[in-house]
Amino acid sequence: MSKVELRREKGFVLIRCPYCTAEYRVPETITYATCPYCGTTFRLAKPDAKIEHFLFKMIFDKNSAYKLARDFATQQVGVVEDLYENSSFESATLYYVPLYIYEINIKALCRGEKEETSEKGEIEITVHGGEEISYELVKAVDKVPIPLPDDYGFPARARTYFKPTVLKDGKYLQPNRDPMELFDDVKRPSLEQAIEEAKISCDHGYRVIDNSKYHGIAHYPFWWIKYKYRGKTYNALVDAADGTIVYLEYPLSMSGRLFSLGGGMASTLVAGGIGSLITWYILKQPLLGFIGGFIAAIPGFLVTASKMIFNKGKYKFKPGEEALFMPVR
């Protein structure tokens, strides 16, 4: 592979690809350049360093993504009964969102601490300080045009090499944040945590060993789907690699809303009733207990109220609530 040739002119960088020798132009503000002909990627500030760049495979096409979103909408509380029959696909945009992959590997070892590795690959440590080891994914662009949660991770699914054809298929977002600047921000909490652990562990001080690495970029595919129901447009964000519904809007029916709100209200009143039984038995003052039970049930009522107050329902995937309040990945 020959060297990258860069030439700057009026806010743009003219690049001759080191692999296929094609010439192309990119705005000066971007951090990474990807050859539109062969897919070779490098960092503008450090063109000779090797970069890992891959894509997650798009397994769900726009039709299956729309169907996933529509079918998931029918599973929501209070949704209109005829969504399946009266909704139709409007449009779909494929976004490739770039994410930086960092490996955080920080150890704060007690003075004199040694790791002994045996021949069988076993590790023995006599006294230990602190450690933080994890992988972090960070969005490589300042603004993502789709509602993607910050702590969204990769699924266990196949990747593929970057192919220039994706530039035609979808909106390929160019990374514009500096990966090394971000690296320090990403590392800081782990560094503090490891030191904190070493402070409560070591007798005679500690030393920090930082083996953290910046691995590269991955582009991840999402479908931004628009669908119509009785003249109104609703949006959905679908993970194109594993089919997770990340964000979904759906029409609520009046009867569904009233029924759910009624349920929430009934639950609050029942709580008040039980509370009043307790204070009636102990204090002979049922009203006080009713108020107590009613207050304790308000957070629950707010859950139903927030879901049912507007005629458009919203669902947001929260990684921390997976498998408890929402489906699994």
Binding site: F154, I200, I274, G293, A297, G300
Partner: protein
């Protein structure tokens, strides 16, 4: 040669079959590529041939049979089984390290323990809280555990973690990758290894020692509280200084073991749900199931019951005009509020998720969260002592 010096395959390399010269379809995941023209197995990652173990998977139709069996016998699904149609299964083969970690810890700590004391009886009864500063030290462990570490960077996948945990409990003998007769379809579903053994061992070490530190912190509190229990009812404790030194740590890792995970979608009415099956025995490890109206009512009712009980108890405690009891009342009200929020979130969720070996997982999770709230404000035992013995007795003896 297709492989560069550091075992990473570059995107621009063109691969050809070593037997017939036809072009090969290669991705970053490819360990072995089966030529679609002549069927020859081209090892792209020769270095992994003898090092990686794989658990062989059942075939698609066997998995479909297992999924149907589950639907027809599961207590929640069998009544609606005739309305369910099973869709095409999807296989993914995930590489894991299984890491055993064993560790001990020396500890010492200074703890402020709050104790409730009372004098007199009836209307002259007065209660107050005294704080005692207690020093404890000792040795904890050995404490050992095993961790399934997915060999992929940045993966957050509940189902894959559940597969690793299931394998730990139900291990089967894997084979070497080189002993397997591959079909082209299967090889494309094998995910490549992205994490080396040392990093996997470090990840397990981090998980293990974080758990160990939590356990020792609880032990320090428990010991300090038990030292002053004879002085009165313990209502809470705060660690003001502690030292926890992990010692004699041993870490041992398995070879890489690739485990097959099957995802079987099924449709019921208009919704689509998924079963996650372990590929080697077809056992359902995670199941998404439809939320029935009865499930929603049960959660809504349960939330109302807890909120009502705790709300009523809170008012009763407020009414004693004793500071400790009022604090207890506020805690009861907070827990009641949290429980009603949690229950209504459960009642309005789009699907139910069942995980193998984890019955009543949702209730346990709620219990753990409530436990955490309690540990912030005081020790659980102290609370029970206060509410159970003195306060309740006091309330009942009123009038």
């Amino acid at each position: 040669m297709a492989i560069s010096s550091d075992n990473e395959v570059s995107s621009a390399t063109i691969f050809r079959c070593r037997n017939c010269g036809a072009p090969l379809d290669v991705s970053p995941e490819t360990i072995v590529a089966i030529c679609s023209y002549c069927g020859y197995a081209n090892w792209i990652r020769e270095d992994l041939k003898e090092d990686i173990l794989i658990v062989e998977s059942l075939k698609d139709n066997e998995i479909l049979g297992k999924a149907r069996d589950r639907i027809e016998t599961d207590k929640d699904l069998r009544s609606i089984a005739k309305y369910i149609s099973v869709l095409r299964p999807y296989l993914v083969c995930i590489p894991f390290y299984f890491v055993d970690v064993k560790a001990e810890a020396d500890y010492s700590g200074t703890v402020n323990v709050r104790v409730r004391k009372c004098t007199g009886s009836g209307k002259k009864r007065r209660c107050w809280i005294t704080t005692y500063t207690v020093h404890v030290d000792g040795h904890y462990g050995p404490f050992s555990a095993s961790y399934p570490i997915i060999c992929r960077r940045g993966v957050k996948a509940f189902s894959a973690n559940a597969l690793g945990t299931y394998y730990l409990r139900n291990p089967v003998k894997p084979k070497y990758l080189s002993e397997i007769d591959f079909e082209a379809k299967t090889t494309r579903r094998i995910l490549a290894v992205e994490i080396d053994r040392k990093t996997a061992m470090d990840i397990a070490l981090d998980d293990h020692l974080d758990t160990l530190r939590d356990k020792v912190t609880k032990e320090i509190k428990r010991e300090a509280e038990s030292k002053v229990r004879w002085r009165g009812a313990v209502v809470g404790s705060t660690i003001i200084w502690k030292k926890i030194t992990p010692k004699n740590i041993r870490i041992r890792s398995s070879s890489i073991i690739i485990l097959p995970l099957y995802i079987v979608p099924y449709s019921y009415r208009r919704g689509v749900y998924r079963l996650f099956l372990s590929g080697w025995d077809g056992e359902t490890i995670v199941a998404e199931e439809p939320m029935k109206l009865s499930n929603r009512i049960l959660w809504g009712g349960g939330g109302a019951l807890i909120a009502g009980l705790l709300g009523g108890a809170a008012i009763t405690l407020f009414n004693t005009e004793d500071l400790t009891s009022i604090i207890m009342g506020a805690i009861a009200l907070a827990i009641g509020g949290y429980s009603s929020w949690y229950s209504l979130k459960m009642a309005t969720r789009p699907v139910r998720v069942e995980v193998i070996g984890e019955k009543f997982r949702a209730i346990k999770e709620l219990g753990e969260k409530v436990g955490k709230i309690l540990s912030v404000v005081g020790s659980f035992e102290g609370l029970i002592q206060v509410i159970g013995r003195e306060a309740i007795h006091e309330f009942l003896s009123k009038d």
